[in-house]
């Protein structure tokens, strides 16, 4: 779809926790102005991939490139400053601060260092918003997310759906170049999910690269232009949604595998299970 240099490129990323390989050799591209989806069953390693991209969990191997620059040595906050923004699967809002203040913190942290970075694209605030003062920019973002009436309410008192929007607004206030969204639609009702899909489209149109982890596959199919499917920490399929949807490997990943002699032999050997046609444990 979008040609040219990806805004975020993940190359051969692996994360190992003790003996457990949570993410194994994952490569992804996210292009500016498009939404890429990352789906997969529970425990497939989606959130770990996110953590490794934004530096919360150190990867065992692999590289993360933002606009061609290697971020592998940067700390979490340095990556954020370069333009990696994210939301969290389990909400990480500032629950004692009001909605407006949550957004303002994101904005203020950005303003603290943005001079050292070339101007970032703006989202939600419209094209003429470059010289806005902080209050006006916060108001614009809050307004655009439909939270104006709740602006002074502490986020801790909000329902999940609204809190997720706050988290999104806060991430956008930092004006990232690529945004990692970890299940942003959970906790939203159907109408809110539809609105959220529209909002995502607008963000992409404004030039943001979005990597979306989401359970609501309908939403993913609707908004994403690229889709990667993760299982056992590996990318088992990627491509346009329609292609992925009809891919047998994906259906198997979600619904459970059918017998396939070749994979059975290999995987069984890996798992250290002896295959006996009949009774395996007659040891009584």
């Amino acid at each position: 779809m979008t040609a040219g240099e990806p805004v975020l490129r993940v190359e051969g990323l692996s994360v190992r926790f003790g003996g457990h390989l949570a993410v194994s050799d994952v490569s992804l591209d996210v292009h500016a102005g498009s939404i890429s989806g990352l789906i997969g069953p529970n425990g497939a390693g989606k959130t770990t991939t996110f953590n490794a991209i934004c530096g919360v969990t150190p990867p065992t191997s692999g590289r993360v490139l933002l606009e061609g620059q290697d971020l592998s040595r940067a700390s979490t906050h340095q990556r954020a400053r370069r333009g990696v923004g994210r939301t969290f699967q389990r909400l990480e809002v500032f629950s004692s601060l009001s909605v407006a203040d949550n957004v303002r913190v994101g904005l203020e942290i950005r303003r603290g260092w943005s001079r050292r970075r070339r101007p970032a694209p703006q989202f939600l605030t419209g094209p003429d918003a470059f010289d806005l003062d902080a209050d006006a920019e916060v108001d614009l973002i809050v307004d655009r997310l439909g939270l104006t009436e709740l602006a002074d309410v502490p986020v801790g008192a909000l329902p999940t759906g609204s809190a997720r929007k706050v988290e999104l607004g806060r991430a956008l206030a930092a004006r990232p170049r690529v945004l990692l969204l970890d299940e942003p639609a959970s906790g939203l009702d159907d109408r809110e999910t539809d609105e959220f899909g529209v909002l995502l489209g607008e963000l992409a149109a404004a030039g943001l690269g979005v990597l979306l982890v989401e359970h609501d596959v309908a939403l993913v199919m609707r908004v994403c232009s690229e889709l990667s499917v993760l299982n056992f920490g590996q990318v088992i399929a990627s491509g346009p949604p329609a292609e992925v949807q009809s891919n047998h490997a994906v259906l198997d990943a979600y619904l459970g595998g059918r017998d396939d002699a070749a994979t059975v032999a290999v995987t069984a050997a890996e798992a250290g299970v002896a295959i006996h046609p009949g009774e395996p444990g007659a040891g009584r």
Binding site: H77, S96, R104, E167
Partner: protein
Amino acid sequence: MDKFLTFTIAGLSSAAIYAIAASGLVVTYTTSGIFNFAHGAFGMLAAFTYWQVNQAWGVPTIPAVIIVVFVAAPLFGAVVERVIMRGIEGASEVVKIVVTVSLMVALLGLAQVIWPPDVARPVPPFFEGRFVEFVGVRVPWSRLLALVVAALVAVGLRLLFTRTRLGIAMRAVVDDRSLLQLNGGRPGRTAMLSWGLGAALAAVSGVLYSTEQTLSAVTLTLLVVNTYAVAVVGRLRSLPGAFLGAVILGLAQSYVTGYINPELTVGPIALGNLAAALPAIMLFTVLLLQPEARLRSHSVVRPRSPQPVPSQRTALLGGVALVVVLAALGSLMAPADLILVTKGAGFALITLSLVPLTGYAGQISLAQMTFTGIGAVAMAAWGAGGSPLAVAASIAVCAVIGAVVALPALRLSGIYLALATAAFALFCTAMIFNQQQIVSGGTVQVPPLSIGPFTADTDFRQLVLLAVVFAVVGNLLVWLRRNAWGRRLAAMKDSPVACATLGLNLTSTKVGVFALSAAIAGAGGALAGRSFTADSFSLPASLPVTMLAVVGGIGSIAGAFIGGLLLGAIPIASTVFAANAIGVFRFVSIPVRDVLAFTPGMMGISLGREPDGAAPQIAVGYRAVGRSVPALVVSVVGAVTLWLATRFGLVARWSFVAALLVFVVAAVPLLPLVLSPRTPEDTAEPPRRTACGLWLLVATVAAAFIPWVDLVASNGVRIVLIVVLAALSARVAIGVLGVTPEQLRRPVAPSPDLVGVDRPLLRTDALEATRGLGLSEDEFEAEVDALRPVGVER
């Protein structure tokens, strides 16, 4: 060579004691997740109990050891876990630290009440007078005993944790608490056992140590700081690491004592105290070597209610009011009272230093008095004539030192900052405040500030100065909190990981706030304008600051003021209260003064659960009173009753003042909550509300019947004490209730469940009800059948 061997053996035997103590610490920390700052106090209590049993009551050594180590100590540990620690499971780290620190202070106070420190209590070493010749060195059996016991402990713990189901279950709790439950294990019981075990190990180390050194409550309690340093080598979690740390520290201390000439000096600092400073040095070294802690997303902490930030206008008005009121009071006070109040105001400034650190940013420091001390020492050195420049320089020094101290610990989690500051306090006591060259004669005389024509050379002027400084700093903090930096601190407290992914450098932000806090504490020292004893900068003096700041309410300026007042008032109260027992206290022959010695600790323990403090809750409470008819009625009836009781001579006049104040400050604001019917989202269950109501009633009645006139001689002190009593009653009530301001704000709705029916009724409920009514099950079934349409089969 002989000398080397001698010191090696001495070092190893103290290493053995450290190792035993540290293994107890590690066992409790890993299995219950609570770092027990009172571990040393457990050991101290055990050592004193051993003295009591063995020396005072004459029980022979072996039964005495069994009683103390195998019976009393484990029991004590288990009770502490059940009564105190279980309640703070899942609370924030600050709360856990404050509660265990409070326990340490309380135990220290308790020990001093039971075993007054002015009596020498020698404990003879085990196997006294028996030696082993070893390569020409005479080694006492007691030294060897320590080594043997340490080896036994190591082997025993290893066996426990690998061979017994109980020990394996303790490890399993760490792995996966809920899975253990699903297996049918009881984490609660496991935790009690691990605290019992921890306390027993503390007892072993305490008893062993007391036979080597003199029996002193403070020394034994502070031994725990050495233990921290030792345990940190194993990242507080590994037993072999702790044993290794113990060997390093034990040997290092022994060699330093043996080989470094105490007369040797570096600048003004004599190296005679280096051995005492070694744990701190070791702790810092180890902290520097630790890899940076991983950001944990979503650390599960009990959700707290957000605190309203006062407007700048309110803060300004409050500041002016504070200065005016204090000036007015001060001008009327007798000189003796004035000194005490001025002292209290100084403490208030020091507790204020914890507001940005603990209140805003959620970090903790146990060394605030140390920074005060550095400020005071610097001012004493440079500030002859009270130059404002010297004050600025002293404050700047504190800020810089604060930043340096915090840097290694802040990369790690909150517990390490607490450890590092505790170690720093000990280090400074040894290397600065106990140095004759720096603090001659054990006192620091801080020159009063002098700006132009104003010199704070009288107590009254000093009071006004402190009030002004408090108001200015308070306003500055409110301004900070309302602006970008303060928002960042609050955000960081709520979710560090989110801040990092927005681009905030957590370490530099934390270092900044720690430096600010150290600077304010330093200002408290530099501006105090009085003489301090070196003791007042020690770790035991710092702990109550942190504790009472949290008790007063760490999130707000007013809370800090209450905390400071408490801090000032408790020593005052214990000096002015009659040393003889009054009333029912006479029967246990405990003077009131001694009771006061361990109350601060008890307060911290009971109140640490609600770290936002009393002030905001009280403020919100008054607004709710107007909306609740029963609360209004009870308020009026209560006040009238008090007045009538006074009118008819049941209550003395000062007691009337006290009771009225307690009633108005503590009871009235909480009445709406105590009286309101229960709502579904109400977290305060009925028993807690009843307990709160009971406490308020008792506090008011007690205030009315305490014979204030006989207790205290001076009117000024009476006022201070009554205010403190009122604030405390409110604070305890809020602690008991566990309320949040929202609950007070919520309109009072009629209850759907006056008789407690709050869930769907089931067949089993009906059956139980029937049993309760005295009917048999058959009768019940018969009735059910009777209700059925004719012909329906069961």
